[in-house]
């Protein structure tokens, strides 16, 4: 190829890339469709490269992780006051079916947000905006679904905010990122509350739950409060939360599928 032709090709491709970046930033659907096509094409390859083991040993490992996650959820609900628990139980809470999955790819691009890819997709019943949990607690939510894989946005992404309940029942919201000039240990999340005095170090933070259970079902452990920030004249009090799940060590996770509407939870149906 002549030098001039090569230069022209370079300029054309650079312009096309800039157009793609602008389209994605402006929220157009075309880049998402391109990502979906690429995920559909690369998904099976990633699964085989990741060496996802479909043998008995691996299946037992997955079942084990799912059972531990269920046990943690059940224990959290038992720890609440029974009446309050029944009051807060909604048809989509907690009793949903857990679908195990393995992480096949983690985000490595310098420009990427905090996302991981798992090896179940549309064909396994995954839909966007479902909760993803691990044995220890909340991992994140499903953001995009391809036929063979799905992308999960982790809790420490910049745009993730989870409504939570702290310890004795105080409401707040957890998000990533340090407030102002306060330093956080890497990986810690920030809890925002209205009343500082109701939070103590060591309180457990669990999800409050969203309408219809999307994107978050209630009662999942998010983390533990490690430090309460001193007052700096701001309206909301903040605290540091150490997440229960280490995002750099994710392997087996489970997607919470919504239960059918009207079935209710075991707590709501239990005879008094």
């Amino acid at each position: 190829m002549t030098l001039l032709a090569r230069r022209r090709l370079l300029v054309v491709l650079l312009l096309a890339t800039v157009v793609a970046v602008v389209l994605d930033l402006s929220g157009s659907g075309l880049p998402d469709r391109a990502r979906l096509l690429a995920a559909a094409a690369v998904g099976p390859v990633q699964r085989s490269v990741a060496g996802v083991d479909r043998s008995d040993g691996a299946r037992l490992e997955e079942e084990n992780a799912v059972l531990r996650a269920r046990l943690a959820q059940a224990e959290a609900r038992l720890a609440q006051d029974d009446a309050a628990g029944r009051l807060l139980a909604s048809p989509s809470a907690g009793a949903g079916h857990l679908l195990p999955a393995r992480v096949v790819a983690t985000n490595t691009t310098v420009t990427g947000g905090r996302q991981v890819t798992v090896d179940i997709g549309q064909r396994d019943g995954v839909e966007p905006n479902l909760t993803v949990v691990a044995a220890d607690g909340l991992v994140g939510r499903v953001v995009s679904v391809a036929p063979w894989s799905s992308d999960i946005r982790l809790l420490d992404g910049a745009d993730a905010a989870v409504a939570v309940r702290v310890g004795s029942g105080v409401l707040g919201s957890v998000a990533a990122g340090p407030p102002g000039d306060l330093a956080r240990s890497p990986g810690d999340l920030t809890l925002s509350l209205v009343d500082r005095s109701t939070v103590a170090v060591g309180d457990r933070v669990t999800t409050l739950g969203s309408v219809g259970g999307r994107p978050y079902v209630p009662g999942i452990v998010v983390g533990t409060v490690t430090a309460v920030d001193p007052p700096r004249g701001q309206l909301t009090a903040t605290a540091a939360v150490r997440p229960a799940v280490d995002p750099s060590r994710l392997d087996v996770v489970a997607v919470v599928l919504p239960s059918a509407p009207g079935t209710g939870t075991a707590a709501a149906k239990a005879p008094s």
Binding site: R6, L9, L14, D24, L25, R35, A38, T108
Partner: protein, 168 residues
């Protein structure tokens, strides 16, 4: 103006795809923490750019960046990694006169390309999250350079052998 797709071009694209899959899927599987994962894609881009010059380097960097953006989970916004790697390829290509003389020139080209990619990542992180992890970026640069020290002579040798057989 459609470029003739040579065997070497196909090999390079295949190698970039494998490198992108390896960094996203295989290395995390072995439990390598994020700051110690070398950037194999910039290694491949720089290896070709120091042989062929800035324009070819930028083209390969653009293609490699697109592959990295599309392999799930990919980057956001779509295409920004492509621009970064195109800049890295052009930077590495600037060293192609030095690379013909000695291996040190090629290593300097790889170092410049890696620094461009990591600095770009830091700038995007500042504009997006507001968080900056300079220690991780520096560690990743050093690990990529260390892997490049071992792999670059082999990659350059393969490139020259294939060119000599007129496959380029």
């Amino acid at each position: 103006m459609i470029p003739r797709l040579s065997l070497l071009g196909l090999l390079r694209t295949g190698a970039v795809l494998l490198a992108a899959l390896a960094v996203a899927t295989v290395l995390p599987r072995f439990g390598v923490p994020a700051r110690f994962r070398p950037d194999l894609v910039v290694l491949l881009v720089a290896a070709s750019a120091v042989v062929r010059g800035p324009a070819q380097g930028a083209l390969l960097g653009l293609a490699a960046g697109w592959v990295v953006d599309l392999v799930p989970p990919g980057g956001s916004p779509l295409g920004l990694t492509a621009l970064l790697y195109a800049a890295a390829g052009a930077t590495a290509g600037l060293f192609h006169r030095g690379a013909h003389r000695s291996l040190l020139g090629a290593l300097l080209g790889l170092a410049a390309a890696t620094v461009v990619v990591e600095l770009g990542g830091v700038c995007v992180a500042i504009l997006g999250d507001g968080t900056v992890d300079l220690a991780a970026a520096a560690t990743r640069t050093l690990v990529t350079l260390a892997v490049g020290l071992l792999a670059l002579p082999a990659l350059l040798g393969v490139d020259r052998a294939l060119t000599r057989r007129r496959l380029a």
